[in-house]
């Protein structure tokens, strides 16, 4: 099973599961990270920086540590 930090720029997948403590889970949820939703990795910043993802109409940046908590299934 892949997680979001392993996705390559330009690739899309569906969110399969979110492994996060309550506070992070709430935030991800409110930002639109929901199980079954389609997610696209737009780009990653240089030097191991954050990833830029697109969820529906929203663009979001998050660090790799947070991205690795989100399990995905490739579309």
């Amino acid at each position: 099973m892949l997680n979001l930090s392993q996705l390559q720029p330009g690739e899309s997948a569906h969110i399969h599961a979110i492994h996060a403590e309550e506070s992070l889970f709430h935030r991800l949820n409110a930002m639109g990270f929901r199980i079954g939703k389609k997610i696209e990795l737009v780009r990653q910043a240089s030097f191991g920086g954050p990833v830029h993802v697109r969820l529906g109409s929203t663009d979001i940046i998050l660090r790799l540590t947070e991205a690795s908590r989100i399990q995905i299934a490739r579309a």
């Binding site: 709430h26 935030r27 910043a45 109409s57 929203t58 663009d59």
Partner: protein
């Protein structure tokens, strides 16, 4: 008086709406149980005066961020007659959850779908009546930026103001909220009934710009280039304005105040002119810079570039516990620390904000640069002097990173780094000007008394006891210098330089002038005497101490008003004094040990 609360997710234009409805009349108020600034304003609505409060942006009513807690506390401790929920129409499919949460609390609410212009451009259409029917709440579509629909929304609000609310406790808020899964189902249902979204958003200008600005190789150079241009703009336009203010103040002093106070006793004359009037002048000197800074920062923030800066710089800044937005503020601190400290308000996590405010005073601002240029010109050759000044900049960066590393454990950010990347937007001129004006007023309200008091104190220290020459070693300042000599001698600072450091506490701009008074000489004679009395090791040690020990009174005053904590301000001040001494000590003693 009725009270209306504005509530919404970040980046929904909530504050833009607040500014539109309140004009320039907004005030920072104190609220029970809340430690951050909340803006409020009295507005006329349906023939009555009502109080409008701008709550911080939040994603989720039972979230854990600092701002989310503030909103919960506010709703629990203050009665609210109407909640105006501001949502971004383009993101209605996920933001509607907030409206459902408010509805679940039983608060009287009105839903405002903002950025209708942007949604329309993206091909999103919303059936307002259907949504209102499904939600059981009044709904209006607006554009806070251009004002479309705002009068109608206010009429709607006036009609719904009459409802009474049942008081809620903070703990009840979480329990009253329905289970998330249930909310999600409701949300999906309502969106399906009333919103039409295209599969692919049509407004992709942002994507094209991002392809360049966030390019893997070009992104960082473009960011530094942009920062350099903004910096140059603020401080090259700001410098003549500051000089203009200084010239005007001098003119008022010499042509009006001097003749008026000439007959007064010397001490009163000194107190009024060298104390209070100079204090007012110190405050006034910051006004042009603060206005310019926020003109530029409003553009950077509202355009959406701030989250791009965070994206680009995060890999480097995360290691020292900061993020890209901190980096922007630290960079701006190299021009002037005061607006940079005020600008940290863009960071919503208190831990990260305090850490950023801790390091900003270590940025070598333009006032300190004057001291270094003066000193290095006296003590070094023309070839060496620029290198000395450059090494001060390097030292400034080193102390910034060191301080961040040391304090990052203490001031940890409580929030995960998950930011929205809004589409690029043009702020309106009105938004920009209003922000500049509000920030200046904020600075004047919060910092001016403290600064004037400090200037009067330093004036008294350097002029009393009466009968001794001003700024001489017989004054209280000289005596304080003498008292601290045992700890200042090991870093090469003598009694005269110690007095200059006490002056430098007020503002670094006056250090060079103070040296002239202390040595009793002007211009070249002063430079010759100082070159005779000091060697280069002492000079550099003095410069290092000046760089680190404390920025200026205005910075301290701003730090106190922005952090709202005297303890934190004392910690920051104490740390910089300690660090300054240690750095100067290591430099001075090793240079001497090496035989210089």
């Amino acid at each position: 008086m009725k009270r209306i609360a504005l509530l919404g997710m970040p980046n929904t234009g909530k504050s833009t709406l607040f500014n539109r409805l309140s004009g320039a009349s907004a005030r920072v108020g104190n609220w029970p149980g809340i430690t951050v600034d909340l803006m409020s304003a009295k507005i006329l609505i349906g023939g009555h005066i009502a109080e409008l409060v701008d709550l911080p942006g939040l994603y989720d009513l039972h979230g854990f961020s600092d701002d989310e807690q503030v909103v919960r506390h506010f709703l629990a401790n203050n009665s609210v007659d109407l909640v105006m929920i501001v949502l971004n129409s383009s993101q209605i499919d996920r933001q509607l959850s907030l409206a459902l949460q408010i509805r679940a609390l039983g608060l009287p609410a009105l839903l405002l779908l903002n950025m209708q212009d942007e949604a329309k451009r993206s091909g999103i259409s919303i059936d307002i009546d259907e949504m209102s029917r499904q939600l059981g709440l009044p709904v209006a579509s607006i554009s806070a930026k251009y004002g479309d629909g705002c009068p109608q929304a206010l009429q709607l609000a006036a009609r719904h103001l009459e409802h009474q609310r049942a008081p809620i406790s903070a703990s009840e808020i979480s329990s009253k909220l329905e289970a998330d899964t249930q909310l999600e189902q409701q949300m999906e249902h309502i969106v399906k009934q009333s919103v039409q979204m295209p599969l692919q958003l049509t407004d992709r200008l942002t994507e094209r710009i991002d392809r360049v600005l966030l390019h893997p190789w070009l992104g960082l150079p473009l960011f530094f280039g942009a920062m350099y241009l903004l910096f140059q703009f603020i401080f090259t336009v700001g410098a003549p304005l500051q000089e203009g203010v200084a010239w005007l103040l001098d003119l008022i002093r010499s042509d009006i105040l001097e003749p008026l106070t000439a007959s007064l006793p010397a001490w009163l004359h000194g107190l009024l002119l060298d104390g209070i009037y100079d204090g007012v002048g110190t405050v006034a000197a910051f006004v042009p810079i603060i206005v310019l800074f926020f003109l530029v920062m409003t553009m950077v923030e509202d355009s959406g570039y701030m989250s791009r800066a965070a994206f680009l710089m995060d890999a480097l800044m995360a290691r020292v516990g900061l993020d890209g937005r901190s980096f922007v503020m630290v960079l701006m601190g190299f021009g002037c620390n005061v607006p940079a400290l005020m600008g940290t308000r863009v960071m919503r996590s208190r831990g990260m904000r305090l850490l950023t405010m801790m390091v900003i005073p270590l940025s070598l601002c333009s006032a300190r640069l004057q001291v270094f240029v003066f000193m290095s010109a006296i003590l070094f050759t023309t070839e060496q002097a620029p290198l000395v000044v450059f090494s001060m900049y390097l030292m400034s960066f080193v102390t910034i990173f060191l301080t961040a590393l040391i304090f990052k454990g203490k001031m940890r950010s409580s929030e995960p780094f998950i930011l929205e990347m809004p589409p690029y937007r043009f702020p309106t001129a009105k938004q920009i000007v209003l922000r500049g004006w509000l920030e200046v007023r904020h600075f004047l309200n919060r910092a001016s008394k403290f600064i004037i008091f400090g200037v009067v104190m330093v004036w008294a220290l350097t002029n009393f006891p009466s009968g001794v020459p001003a700024a001489s070693e017989a004054t209280y300042a000289g005596q304080i210098g003498q008292f601290f000599l045992p700890i200042l001698e090991p870093i090469g600072i003598d009694a005269k330089l110690a007095i200059a450091l006490i002056f430098g506490f007020v503002a670094k701009e006056i250090v060079v002038g103070a040296l002239a008074v202390i040595y009793g000489l002007q211009g070249e004679a002063l430079e010759l005497l100082m070159a005779q009395q000091l060697d280069w090791v002492q000079g550099v040690s003095f410069m290092l101490f000046t760089l680190i020990y404390t920025p200026c009174l205005s910075t301290i005053a701003t730090m106190r008003s922005e952090s709202k904590s005297v303890g934190y301000t004392v910690l920051a001040l104490g740390w910089s004094l300690l660090l300054a001494w240690v750095v100067s000590f290591i430099f001075y003693q090793s240079a001497r040990a090496l035989g210089y």
